[in-house]
């Protein structure tokens, strides 16, 4: 069964261990600026929200890529950037409606979460269980609920980011 990253903002303390683990795994340095997962701080609200690619079925990034540099990992279902093919045109970065694929100016390529090939280091590094790697199906309900609260006025027959694409959220 496919697994997905489950993100629970309520458990996040903003320590950024996930960002360091991610950048260390991918680039060999501790560098949150190059992390594929990002913790956003909400100071006034007293909240932190870890956020990364949901490996959405629509795969906006993959479809927008003009050179076929983003492919589905058959094992994990993640959408992976092939560095050898990516030309750095950045079309995917504006196409992804979740803002989770970014241009890395030091390599001239784009970067996104690839689930570390099925062993996501961010989840391993998270000290509070705010990031866990779980069976994909178990995250579905909450995603739909989150989306339903923010559904645009348009009816269901329109092409737009749809429920299954919305980041998972689960109350502990």
């Amino acid at each position: 069964m496919l697994r997905a990253l489950s993100l629970e903002p309520e458990r996040c303390t903003g320590c950024l261990q996930c960002e360091m683990a991610c950048s260390f795994e991918n680039d060999g340095v501790f560098n949150p600026a190059k992390s594929r997962i990002k913790v956003f701080a909400f100071h006034e609200e007293g909240r932190f929200a870890p956020y990364t690619c949901t490996q959405c079925d629509e795969a906006w990034c993959m479809k927008a890529c003009p050179v076929d540099a983003i492919v589905i990992n058959a094992e994990t279902g993640s959408k992976d950037v092939l560095d050898s093919v990516c030309v750095g045109c950045k079309v995917c970065t504006i196409a992804c409606p979740f803002g989770t694929i970014n241009y890395n100016s030091s390599t001239g390529k784009v970067i996104k979460c690839d689930l570390c090939g099925g062993d996501p280091h961010c989840a391993k590094a998270c000290p509070t269980g705010a990031i866990t790697y779980v069976d994909a199906d178990s995250t579905g309900m909450e995603r739909m609920r989150a989306w339903a609260q923010n559904r645009p006025e348009a009816g269901p027959n329109y092409i737009t980011p749809v429920e299954k694409d919305i980041q998972t959220y689960q109350r502990p």
């Binding site: 303390t13 320590c15 950024l16 360091m20 340095v29 600026a33």
Partner: protein
């Protein structure tokens, strides 16, 4: 390695910024952060210089573990000659700024001279520039933060800033980073403002990559995190209740300094305690505490994020204070509460917010208000002096007004901004200042915790709990329980805590790890990160070297044995209640033992043997 091996030297008088290599020979002797920056300060300034003059220097410094995956590896310190004390000052802060500095590729920033115009330093990786502080000078930290962010258009920049209090010359202004983390004590913010520097704004995207043995480092840091996770204090106690859990502990122990240390127990303690922060309020049903939060890299997450009841008098019609921000830590809650006799949790939280908003050390501020209240009680100051405010113990309205005045540097706030020593001297009662070397005590009465009396008296930056926290042993039983009411063995205990603490403070990690970690847990992490073979023994010796170096700076600055002392109240007026009832602090018994244990002569001067043993030249 882990060091960036680069220092940013900012000559404010010339308006120049330049990069220079880190002195790696010193790095082997002093590691980083507190130790290494103190070495630079000691080498570069005249200990007799005016702390607020251009000859003083201000050093922002990280440690080798700052910006790494080591738990709590996000610390930085600010080292300078402190204006509150005239002694060497080193104030340590968490948040995210320290790691960002490292990510930008810098171990340290050394500010020297004085800028002719208000400026701020903008660092973007290896580029650094001084920029005009027009538009932010005269603004609070919180207001300036917004303006700077809007200007630089980068939500990820990190900012350390001084508030209006520092600009107004308050002697105990802090440097606030990330809105509510503080390099808090000794007036390091005052020094920054005296140099016409409003803020350090940093964005680092280079990361920290020069780890000596990355795989060994990941293993060592993971083991360290496991120890923190499995330890009941760092794994559960601190995240759940924060440091504020101590309020009731210390009150029960009879060591909660109350009303300018006239008493050792506070009836209102439970109302301002960590437990009280969890209680739903009557008015809005929400607790004071929203959540706990971590600093960069911290797997403990003891930070408090709080709100104030919107209907509370302090914030009525002031929506800017209705959101969440940094809540009360134990020391702040004590100073703003017990020291002043105020037991209104929301008033304390408001005062704490304002301390962050305008960059004040809440410990010195609260203690100074407590001193002012006693001066008022004694008739030494009157309503004429205070601008009409009745400075009575226990009045929440006095506390909230006072913090606003000091924050803005207005009215009686100017007097309160002097700190308790100068304030009490000004009004003819120097004995009423509860301070050592001009710096106010934190939240542990040395009559009820004897070792803390010695720790305060000998602390190189003036009275301080973060230089030798023997409370851990004397009250909490970490690592081993000792009797708080006896003096025997305390000299050695204080020395051991002081030396170990200096090592922790030089590494880039938080002292709170020491509730679970010994240096045996720290050494493998440093050793995997840094060249040079780092053992527990080497770290302990480094800690002792740092301590002695700081001491020698103070001696050259003019401090003597007479300054290793406590206010007369604590050695002559007995505690009136609790387990310590009838006791005073017996510093006179402990101090000679301490000097001997340190290898110092009877005047508290390191002997030639000691200096040689530690490699101090």
């Amino acid at each position: 390695m882990a060091w960036a091996k680069k220092i940013l030297r900012v000559n404010l008088s010339e308006g120049s910024v330049k990069s220079e290599p880190l002195n790696m020979e010193w790095a082997q002797q002093y590691l980083g952060q507190r130790g290494l920056a103190s070495k630079y300060l000691v080498e570069e300034i005249d200990p007799k210089c005016d702390p607020l003059g251009p000859d003083n220097k201000l050093i922002f410094t990280t440690g080798p573990l700052t910006g790494t995956m080591a738990s709590t590896g996000g610390r930085y310190s600010v080292v300078t000659k402190g204006p509150l004390t005239g002694a060497i000052a080193c104030s340590n802060s968490g948040g995210y700024l320290g790691a960002e500095l490292k990510m930008a590729g810098w171990d340290m920033i050394i500010f020297e001279g004085r800028s002719p115009e208000p400026v701020y330093l903008y660092i973007s990786n290896d580029k650094a520039e001084l920029m005009s502080a027009d538009g932010i000078w005269g603004k609070s930290v919180w207001a300036a933060d917004k303006i700077i962010r809007a200007k630089h258009q980068d939500p990820q920049i990190r900012i350390a800033c001084v508030g209006r209090s520092a600009e107004a010359g308050c002697f105990y202004s802090a440097i606030i980073n990330d809105l509510h983390r503080a390099a808090g004590r000794s007036g390091v913010g005052t020094v920054m403002a005296s140099k016409n520097v409003k803020a350090v704004v940093c964005r680092g995207t280079q990361g920290v990559g020069n780890i000596k043995d990355p795989m060994a480092f990941m293993k060592a840091t993971e083991e360290g995190k496991k120890v923190l996770r499995e330890n009941a204090v760092t794994g559960a106690g601190l995240p759940q209740f924060g440091t504020q859990v101590l309020m009731n502990v210390i009150n029960e122990t009879g060591a909660l300094p109350t009303r300018n240390m006239q008493e050792v127990q506070f009836k209102g303690a439970s109302k301002i305690s960590g437990e009280a922060m969890h209680e739903p309020r009557k008015s809005d049903g929400k607790p004071n505490l929203t959540t706990n939060a971590a600093c960069f890299g911290c797997t403990i997450a003891c930070g408090r994020i709080s709100t104030i009841d919107k209907t509370h008098f302090s914030v009525e019609n002031k929506p800017q204070y209705w959101g969440n921000s940094g809540g009360l830590e134990y020391e702040a809650a004590w100073a703003l509460g017990a020291a002043t006799g105020v037991d209104d949790l929301d008033a304390l939280t408001y005062a704490n917010f304002v301390c962050n908003e305008d960059g004040l050390d809440p410990i010195t501020f609260g203690a100074t208000v407590g001193a002012a209240m006693e001066l008022y009680e004694k008739g030494a100051i009157t309503k004429q002096d205070t601008g009409g405010i009745k400075f009575k113990f226990g009045k929440a309205e006095v506390l909230t007004k006072a913090v606003e005045l000091v924050a803005a540097g207005e009215g009686f706030g100017k007097d309160l901004g002097l700190g308790s020593k100068r304030l009490c001297e000004k009004y003819g009662h120097p004995e009423l200042s509860m301070s050592v070397k001009g710096q106010e005590f934190p939240a542990y009465d040395p009559r009820g915790i004897q070792g803390m009396g010695l720790a305060y008296a000998t602390s190189n930056r003036g009275a301080c709990h973060l230089r030798g926290y023997t409370v851990a042993s004397e009250v909490l039983g970490i690592p081993e329980k000792t009797d708080p009411l006896v003096t025997e063995g305390k000299a050695g205990l204080v020395k051991a805590f002081q030396d170990a603490t200096a090592a922790f403070d030089s590494a880039g990690i938080c002292l709170f790890t020491s509730f679970a970690w010994s240096l045996d847990d720290v050494a493998p992490q440093i050793d995997a990160a840094c060249e040079g073979g780092w053992s527990t023994e080497k770290l302990l010796e480094l800690g002792e070297r740092v301590w002695n170096m700081e001491k020698e700076f103070n001696l050259e600055a003019g401090f003597t044995k007479a300054d290793d002392n406590l206010p007369p109240r604590l050695i002559s007026e007995a505690a009136g209640s609790g387990p310590a009832e009838g006791k005073v602090n017996e510093l006179d018994k402990m101090l000679p033992e301490y000097y001997a244990a340190r290898g110092w002569d009877e005047q508290g001067v390191p002997t030639a043997d000691t200096r040689q043993r530690l490699g101090l030249s």
